[in-house]
């Protein structure tokens, strides 16, 4: 331990100033120059703070506060809140008596009532015709009728006229092309059938020719002859069985490896 641990703490300085410091700590204070100096400084600071002068608010502060305070004593003038209650017929009986007797309050209350009536009589103003339609143009509604479908289409056109224009042009071109094709096909079925027949015959011929070329190419390869000798039906069957067996074994092993332990499986019902 060092001497520092025995110095007085801030709370003990407070106790000393209040005269409540225990005797053993007081004896330390009397013998320790460091604690003694700090105690004196603390006492002087507190004395200076206590002697600071009071600062007064401006003279009108009380008036400003009182304007916001509900005056509850029976003899006072009506507050703003009470005037409000009076205009709605909810002023307490005692205050009604004051109002009847006080000319000043009555004048203010009468003016208040006139003003409130003027405000309440203000007419409701109407937006221009078609307001609801303009609002609904900006609200995406589900298409449940022809009218709503028409509105939805109009909204899309209004929001992206260029996009809708391009889409409409493409649709017209494609539709025109399809219609022209259909019309031509209806009048030239013999040509279409002839072309179809020629394509099928030519396709079949071409496929057989390609197959014959591939076969002759394989026959010319040295390894192909030995492969044909080596591959017999019995060997193919043995290799197939082996491959299937290996595949099934692998699947079973994977399932066992990937399965969670029973205790860690999440329960979906109690």
């Amino acid at each position: 331990m060092t001497d520092a641990l025995f110095h007085l703490g801030p709370d003990e300085f407070d106790l000393w100033i209040e005269g409540r410091l225990p005797a053993d700590r007081t004896s330390h204070l009397e013998t320790c120059p460091s604690c003694s100096a700090e105690a004196q400084q603390t006492r002087e600071l507190i004395q200076r703070l206590a002697s600071l002068p009071m600062v007064s608010p401006s003279a009108s502060m009380a008036d400003r506060v009182m304007r916001q305070v509900i005056v509850s004593q029976a003899g006072g003038h009506l507050s703003a809140e009470e005037l409000d209650l009076w205009t709605t017929g909810r002023l307490a009986g005692g205050r009604e008596e004051h109002l009847r007797a006080c000319a000043e309050c009555r004048a203010v209350a009468d003016a208040e009532r006139v003003l409130v009536r003027q405000l309440e009589a203000l007419p409701r103003l109407t937006p221009s015709a078609g307001f609801a339609e303009r609002v609904l143009d900006g609200v995406p509604l589900p298409v449940t009728s022809l009218a709503s479908a028409w509105r939805s289409w109009r909204r899309q056109v209004a929001s992206n006229p260029i996009g809708v224009g391009i889409a409409a042009s493409v649709a017209v071109i494609l539709g025109g092309a399809v219609a022209a094709s259909a019309a031509w096909a209806a009048g030239n079925q013999d040509i279409i059938l002839g072309v179809g027949s020629w394509l099928r015959t030519s396709g079949e011929l071409w496929a057989w020719q390609q197959l014959a070329v591939a076969q002759s190419f394989l026959d010319q390869q040295a390894w192909y002859g030995s492969l044909r000798t080596a591959v017999t039906p019995g060997r193919v069957a043995t290799a197939g069985t082996l491959i299937i067996g290996l595949y099934a074994g692998g699947v079973l092993a994977l399932r066992r490896l990937l399965a969670l332990p029973e205790s860690q499986v999440a329960r979906t019902s109690p």
């Binding site: 809140e81 208040e112 003003l115 203000l122 409701r124 103003l125 937006p127 900006g138």
Partner: protein, 200 residues
């Protein structure tokens, strides 16, 4: 039309539920119920008919597009008035309409100051729209309302024209109840003074 007749007897909350189910007639019913109150509030706030039309339209589009997020435990009127009031206050702050009022600066307190700060439109004549506005908001009380601070204006209109309770106004304007009461009392004092001044 049968839909509209049946919807007219439902509460706002019930109509909102129908709108959520995609019934177009329910959307129309909500617009029918609130187009005039919302337009009146916004028009008296911004004091420009064309702008009020745009802001009212924007208010309804915003509200109806967010109808799924409306919580039925609150009044629909408070919800839509809140959207409308925010739109109007934002617009006023953005464009500082209150300093460009045809009726002069709201901070002007004497007839000379009001005249000095008012926009002079007589030289070029009034357009039909301006003439309509002049007629609609030309009464003494309308002019006096136009000179109030936007927050006071919103509070006094919501309280005495739309008949909302103080608590509702406090909630929709995100203000403490005491502040709303103070605003309304001050607005009434200013209106009384302005109207007395005009009569003199």
């Amino acid at each position: 039309m049968a839909d509209l007749t049946a919807l007219a007897s439902l509460s706002d909350q019930e109509v909102v539920l129908q709108a959520r189910d995609g019934l177009e007639a329910a959307y129309r019913e909500l617009i029918r119920r609130y187009e005039r109150p919302i337009f009146s509030l916004i028009y008296r706030m911004v004091r420009d008919r064309a702008l009020a039309e745009d802001l009212s339209q924007e208010t309804f589009i915003k509200a109806l597009n967010a109808i799924e997020s409306y919580r039925p435990e609150y009044k629909f009127s408070s919800w839509i008035f809140k959207i409308a009031n925010n739109a109007a206050i934002d617009q006023i702050r953005r464009r500082e309409l209150n300093t460009l009022s045809l009726d002069g600066s709201p901070h002007a307190t004497t007839p000379d100051e009001i005249e000095a700060t008012a926009l002079q439109v007589s030289a070029r004549g009034l357009s039909p729209l301006e003439a309509l506005e002049s007629q609609e908001l030309g009464g003494m009380i309308e002019k006096a309302i136009g000179r109030l601070r936007p927050e006071y204006r919103a509070c006094i209109l919501l309280r005495h024209v739309e008949g909302l309770a103080y608590e509702e106004i406090a909630e929709l304007m995100n203000l403490p109840l005491g502040t709303v009461k103070t605003y309304i009392h001050r607005a009434r004092n200013e209106l009384r003074d302005l109207l007395a001044h005009t009569r003199d």
